[in-house]
């Protein structure tokens, strides 16, 4: 029991932080900076605690007498928790200035952000579909509100409305799927479908396939895969920068956390059907996403479009899991880490600049940026290279693993398409690099703004490079290999069949 409490402590700290922030937001004298500090403090506490627990918890059910097997703690969920916490911390730190420059932020904002992190953490621990749904909704509803947080902006409100209507609609599919599963299997625990079919091999399973398809609709919607992508670009653009960053880099990873858990356990008997579906979705997502990304003129919209493409790469790996690629699942985890680093960095620089006086939104606004801010431009280049999958950045290795897993599972066509799409993506990422470096500017060169935001961005850039070239033979520094091994460990820790 004591051990369970200790394991649940990070979750508790985050939710406690959220409540504390909500309560003190009634005092008008507390400044934004303090809210930010308090939020970061709670998150960092949880992060450090989680870090100490990363290794020693292998598939433990939390409070088993109380919750049965609803919550599971394993390396997989711990790793994802760390990512969410890091995502939230980085989001808050980078946007310190951004919050202070705007008048519509207050204490509740930070409280909501922490609630959403709490939801995501629950999601990665959920071992039961209703729990998963509730966690997903805790995270989503917080994000719905956050998207529309700028009440004065019409675009922001419109984005919120789009997102909330479509998001709620898609969530119903999850419930429907869960209900159908309960109807057939008589349980909503993850893993029960697996054992149900194992024990009743002659049963009619059409209903289960339909149910899983419904669940998949919700998940594909949340990750913004084509044909459920229509909300992505507008919502990303309408949301304030910090929230766009949070959605792209953190929320998306959370959805993949539950998807991976479900897919690796419950879908096992249906791989031959769902791999085909995922293949088709991956093809249209890659092509549609590239199409959207190329045609954008606004940087935020381009990154939104490219995030669809990145979901497409992940779908390739997901379909490879079903076709027997051994390394596909760790490849997904590694890809998520890599995407997290580069997306946080890219969006971070955008919001960092947006915090200053001059707004930069379109590609053209970045003309001559390298002369004005050479270091930020260099970092932006690193993030763009990583997103494009250029070697010597972490993005390359991530794509390398994904394509290798596609080849391993015999999907040569998908691997070829993935490489073609990566080639196309060079165009829209290098366009930004070209604009930053190839044009003169009227602005005076500015000094590097030392501060918490820029240091965090710098750290992200450093990690992006280190993740691409890092070797294991420098003592005390984990190399790329360690990351891959951690990803493998994480995947191994869930594929322990629960019954």
């Amino acid at each position: 029991m004591i051990e369970d409490i200790l394991l649940a402590l990070p979750l508790a700290i985050v939710v406690l932080g959220a409540i504390v922030l909500m309560l003190i937001s009634h005092f008008p004298t507390v400044s934004l900076k303090k809210y930010n500090l308090i939020a970061v403090f709670f998150l960092v506490c949880a992060f450090i605690l989680k870090l100490t627990q990363l290794d020693d918890s292998n598939h433990i059910y939390l409070f088993e007498p109380l919750f049965n097997k609803m919550f599971v703690i394993d390396t997989f969920s711990n790793l994802f928790d760390l990512l969410f916490l890091a995502g939230a911390i980085v989001t808050l730190l980078i946007n310190t200035h951004y919050f202070q420059e705007r008048d519509y932020y207050n204490g509740e904002f930070f409280s909501l952000l922490l609630f959403s992190v709490f939801g995501m953490m629950m999601l990665s621990h959920a071992n039961e579909l209703v729990t998963a749904f509730i966690s997903l909704e805790i995270a989503s509803i917080s994000v719905y509100i956050l998207v529309g947080y700028n009440k004065n902006s019409l675009k922001s409100s419109e984005a919120m409305l789009t997102y909330i209507v479509l998001g709620a609609l898609s969530s119903t599919f999850f419930i429907l799927g869960t209900a159908l599963i309960y109807g057939v299997v008589g349980s909503t625990f993850i893993g029960d479908i697996y054992s149900f079919i194992q024990n009743n091999p002659t049963k009619e399973i059409t209903m289960l396939i339909v149910a899983l398809m419904f669940i998949m609709v919700t998940i594909l919607f949340k990750i913004g895969a084509v044909p459920f992508h229509s909300w992505v670009i507008d919502v990303y653009q309408g949301a304030p920068y910090p929230i766009t960053m949070f959605m792209a880099a953190t929320f998306k990873i959370a959805v993949f956390a539950i998807f991976l858990r479900l897919y690796l356990i419950d879908f096992t008997h249906f791989y031959d059907i769902f791999s085909k579906i995922l293949q088709v979705v991956a093809v249209v997502t890659l092509i549609g996403g590239s199409w959207l990304a190329i045609s954008q003129n606004n940087l935020k919209r381009m990154l939104a479009g490219s995030s669809i493409v990145h979901a497409g790469y992940l779908l390739i790996a997901l379909s490879s899991i079903g076709l027997g690629a051994e390394f596909a699942a760790p490849a997904i985890v590694f890809y998520l880490m890599s995407y997290f680093l580069s997306a946080v960095g890219a969006f971070g620089i955008l919001s960092f600049i947006a915090a200053q006086r001059r707004r930069r939104a379109t590609f053209d606004d970045f003309k001559g940026f390298s002369q004005e801010r050479p270091y930020l431009a260099a970092m932006m280049t690193i993030f763009m290279l990583s997103l494009a999958g250029f070697p010597s950045t972490i993005g390359f290795l991530a794509k390398f693993y994904i394509f290798l897993s596609a080849i391993e599972s015999g999907q040569i066509f998908l691997a070829g398409l993935g490489i073609t799409v990566a080639f196309i993506s060079i165009y829209y990422y290098f366009k930004l690099i070209a604009l930053m470096y190839f044009y003169p500017t009227d602005e005076e060169p500015k000094k590097f703004p030392f501060g918490i935001s820029s240091s965090v961005i710098f750290l992200m850039a450093l990690l992006t490079i280190w993740g691409g070239v890092g070797t294991g033979w420098i003592p005390f520094l984990p190399g790329v290999d360690t990351l891959v091994e951690t990803a493998k460990e994480a995947i191994n820790s869930i594929s322990v069949k629960p019954y």
Partner: protein, 489 residues
Amino acid sequence: MQNLLSLIIFLPISAVVLMGLFQVSLKVLRVISLATSVLVFLLVSYLGLNFDPLQSMQFVEVLPWIESYGINYFVGVDAISYILLFLVSLFIPMLFVFIWDEDRKGFFYNLLLLQTGVMGTLLSLDLILFYLFWEMMLLPIFIMIGAYGYGLRQANAMKIIMMTVLGSMTMLFSILYLGYLFFEDNGFWSFSLFGLSSMSFSSDISIILAAGFLLAFSIKIPLVGFHTWMAPAYSSAPTPALVILSAIMAKLGIYGLWRFGFTLFEGPLSYYAPLTITLSIVGILFYAIHAIMEKDLKRMFAFSSASHLSLITLGLFSINIYSWSGSLYLVATHAISSAGIFLLIGMIGKRIKSIKISDLGGIATVAPKFAFFFAFFALSIAGIPGTGGFVAELLIIMGAFKYSFWVGVFAATTMISAILFIFWMLQRTIYGKVSQKVADGFYELSRVELLLLLPLMLLLVLTGIFPSFFISFFEPTLGMMLFQIGDIS
């Protein structure tokens, strides 16, 4: 010196990182850049003193990088890579001297970055490592052309990066598939060149995989049909980028084809040989005709360069010891000549702000020394006797005759076509009436410029007079390789 090769690869990039972090002033930047590149040159020379041409791979370093996929940091040097390594390490300090007065800091940073990329490409023996450096050297070129170039520089920079990345992506696909085939056969991953080359696989697959590599290198060389990026990129490039493009990058295409193409895919490449040889022959004539028609010096020598590279490719695909020795000898001598000629074109650009042939004329009257060097390097490109190019072209033509009579006949015509455009160009630029621009602004070679050109000239003359000394340096390596391929002649 156990880590000599790593030192050579990573010295320039560490200089970039350090100088970038401390934001050094232009003066310090210049001095440190030059010092770094000179130090690299000394290291490479030291390497040469301890180098044994009779052995194949030397100074090998293997360190684990991504162990779960068998990817290692695996570098080593053999005779062929050493020659190119030496030339690159010689050119880079010269370029730093050439751009000494430049006040745009990016030039220095990009050149150093590029040096790391090129050195890494030459020395790496693991396919993923090779791919990493191969892509890494694109970026500085992209920025140098786009930021400091001329004309439609932005569009042309985009063009070069898109075309070359297209090739790289097909190569990446082939590398991945090769790695997977190795895993399927052996049960463990490896991307090392020697591991992968020991595999035997069905000819259908290997023909497709070889195409991936071939496309990457054909774009870099460029063979005819894949050349659309070349003339725009050359005409937009500032002088240092230009020297690198023609004297180093194009040669790396040949080097990659030889090192990786022929080690991994000896069978499939001989399947492609008729096609590539046809493309090369068409290229030799097509580029030569283009060169005759061009109105500015950069574009003209771009096409002349491509014409010679086509000849080198032809030699490479004839697969016998004469043509291979000739090809690799021409790679070296052509690199020296084109470095010289593009430096001279850069000097013309510095003097009269134009490189149009019509703006030039009568240089010999105004600046006789300049005219002498210009004529010397131009003629060495055409391969006049007494320079290394002559010997090399002769060897290639001999090898081509050995491959097939008609290929030999066509290969021989290139000597004539090159002489055509070189002589006509010399007639219009150096001799004839002194043009207005030349009379106004042209001045004689300065002492520093002279100092830059002399070593190149010396090397060219030496390679022309003592070819057997140089060829015997790399012939054992080629012989061994041909023996492995199983076509010893």
